[in-house]
Amino acid sequence: MATPAVPVSAPPATPTPVPAAAPASVPAPTPAPAAAPVPAAAPASSSDPAAAAAATAAPGQTPASAQAPAQTPAPALPGPALPGPFPGGRVVRLHPVILASIVDSYERRNEGAARVIGTLLGTVDKHSVEVTNCFSVPHNESEDEVAVDMEFAKNMYELHKKVSPNELILGWYATGHDITEHSVLIHEYYSREAPNPIHLTVDTSLQNGRMSIKAYVSTLMGVPGRTMGVMFTPLTVKYAYYDTERIGVDLIMKTCFSPNRVIGLSSDLQQVGGASARIQDALSTVLQYAEDVLVSADNTVGRFLMSLVNQVPKIVPDDFETMLNSNINDLLMVTYLANLTQSQIALNEKLVNL
């Protein structure tokens, strides 16, 4: 009933030396009659990689007007009056996918760029701000000027909104361990998009041997009535995980231990083995602690230990035997059934092909 998806092929006969855009086949299951012939040769703008000029971003789009005030030379800038208190309290919750994205875009930065910036997307609620997505924005930075491709940012935001309509622009991020004067400018750009933007820094230059991740919001400071300055006040950063994300992160973390940073996905029993090894480790840590602290110990820890030991339920051995056997029988039966089905369809195959 589902007609085959229409393959849309753009033969890369483009003259540009750019690695030709691979044909964009539509992965949708429903038929998508692609009527519009897109000029695939259009984005030849990659000749100037650091081109913050968004004019070549998409054919026929007007150049970003927001780049215009890029010529401000003076370091001390009067900040605009930023509206309202910080929404949602003082906690920022980050998902690990954001950080991985930021690091990845840092690794892919253009030649000569010291840092990368991008937009943060997410949701706000009463107690905290949760950042769930991000994308990097091309920008140009030099001694005395900065140019950010706001048109690009807007476009990307629109595209992202199609997938997740609940995400709002929350702020922006930058790699590098310090806040420069240009940050203030960029922050001003972003305050046009979001009411009180967050600024996130990820220190990819690994100062102090750590990759410090900090978040700020800007507040006004200075003498009222005179020129106001802008100060970035830090916020608490917490990490939020979905369950599946936690599992994914645990798996990815294993590459830290392998010599060429490569791991494969493990098979069924290996996983059970791995999980039980983890529990064993945890148990041995606890045992060690219990043996070290014999006389004076923490009461709460003692209570936890008690509840831990009591977790193993005390069942009459015969009952347990019956339970165990019935469970094992169920599983064996299901395995047998599965094998039977497989042999049945194999037989069917052979018969049909006679």
Binding site: A24, A28, N155, A346
Partner: protein, 352 residues
């Protein structure tokens, strides 16, 4: 020159040029040999896929997206991905292609690999062997020889370990799909069984050094304990669901078999009828000859006896493939559970 062709029939001509260009001389994998021996995924892609499903795909809907990366010798490296919006509105058809082009253009500006190398899809309890998937993967593989489809199983992942598999269509199946001929004879000629429809490509996950640093950082900062879901014994729900899906499929399969049997019976009956008719004709002709009359004209037999329509065998192949996947999942699951049960037994024995 850079025009895009649509229509199912014209793929043959355009495909050769695109496949040649997409191969880029990186060893097109020879005839009959698979072009991709291994799939290498960045940690970032895994996280993105997980997040996409978590946020957008609750329930039985599938979420899809596009994989970007490059091909290195016989490895397919996937370095980034972006999600596809769901088909909720009616005007989504036009948006899809444009969305894709815009996305890729924008990503090119930030130096992200913008080469299409495949697509990903989430699945519900492992039921992904459908006609739609086959068609999509075929069109992808046709255009880009090394493309794969990544199947992400969120429910299995929530149970304790990441379930991500990469599949490609076997070369034989590609041939058959190209011909678009799914009658029994063609399939028999190609000698395809349900086991040789999809081939699984092993996956490895690779991270850069900086990401490793990030991981260490995260580990230090967030001391969230692992939820040892993997070792939980209460998983009969999952098993029940799986079995139910399996039963549905087996029902479908049996229906399909009945259909095929009727077809075979009809064909053989028809053959017999044809035979009888011919014989009668011959006898009559002989009689007429003996009486000196002109023989009756030969009639077109095929018009008299229209052969019955052979049922498309593709569906039954797909169903068989799906049943196979279910069975494998179930077996994996029971193996794990048996291990867990024995561990519980050991604990209990120690207690007593």
């Amino acid at each position: 020159m850079a025009s895009r062709k649509e229509g199912t029939g014209s793929t043959a001509t355009s495909s050769s040029s695109t496949a040649g260009a997409a191969g880029k001389g990186k060893g097109k994998g020879g005839s009959g040999d698979s072009a991709v021996k291994q799939v290498q995924i960045d940690g970032l892609v895994v996280l993105k896929i997980i997040k996409h499903y978590q946020e957008e795909g609750q329930g039985t809907e599938v979420v899809q997206g596009v994989l970007l990366g490059l091909v290195v010798e016989d490895r397919l490296e996937i370095t980034n991905c972006f999600p596809f919006p769901q088909h909720t509105e009616d005007d989504a058809d036009f948006d899809e292609v444009q969305y894709q082009m815009e996305m890729m253009r924008s990503l090119r500006h930030v130096n992200i690999d913008h080469l299409h190398v495949g697509w990903y899809q989430s699945t519900y309890y492992g039921s992904f062997v459908t006609r739609a998937l086959l068609d999509s993967q075929f069109s992808y593989q046709h255009a880009i020889e090394e493309s794969v489809v990544l199947i992400y199983d969120p429910i299995k992942t929530a149970q304790g370990s990441l379930s991500l598999k990469a599949y490609r269509l076997t070369p034989k199946l590609m041939e058959v799909c190209k011909e678009k001929d799914f009658s029994p004879e063609a399939l028999k000629k190609a000698n395809i069984t349900f086991e040789y429809m999809f081939e699984e490509v092993p996956i490895v996950i690779k991270n850069s050094h900086l990401i490793n640093v990030l991981m260490w950082e995260l580990e230090k900062k967030s001391a969230v304990a692992d939820k040892h879901e993997l070792l939980s014994l209460a998983s009969s729900n999952h098993l029940g669901k799986n079995l139910q899906l399996l039963m549905d499929r087996v029902d479908e399969m049996s229906q399909d078999i009945v259909k095929y049997n009727t077809y075979m019976r009809n064909t053989s009956k028809q053959q017999q009828q044809k035979h009888q008719y011919q014989q009668r004709r011959q006898q009559e002709n002989m009689q007429r000859q003996s009486r000196g009359e002109p023989p009756l004209p030969e009639e077109d037999l095929s018009k008299l006896f229209k052969p019955p329509q052979p049922p498309a065998r593709m569906d039954s192949l797909l169903i068989a493939g799906q049943i196979n996947t279910y069975c494998q999942n179930i077996k994996e699951f029971t193996a794990q559970n048996l291990g867990k049960l024995f561990m519980a037994q050991a604990l209990q024995e120690y207690n007593n």
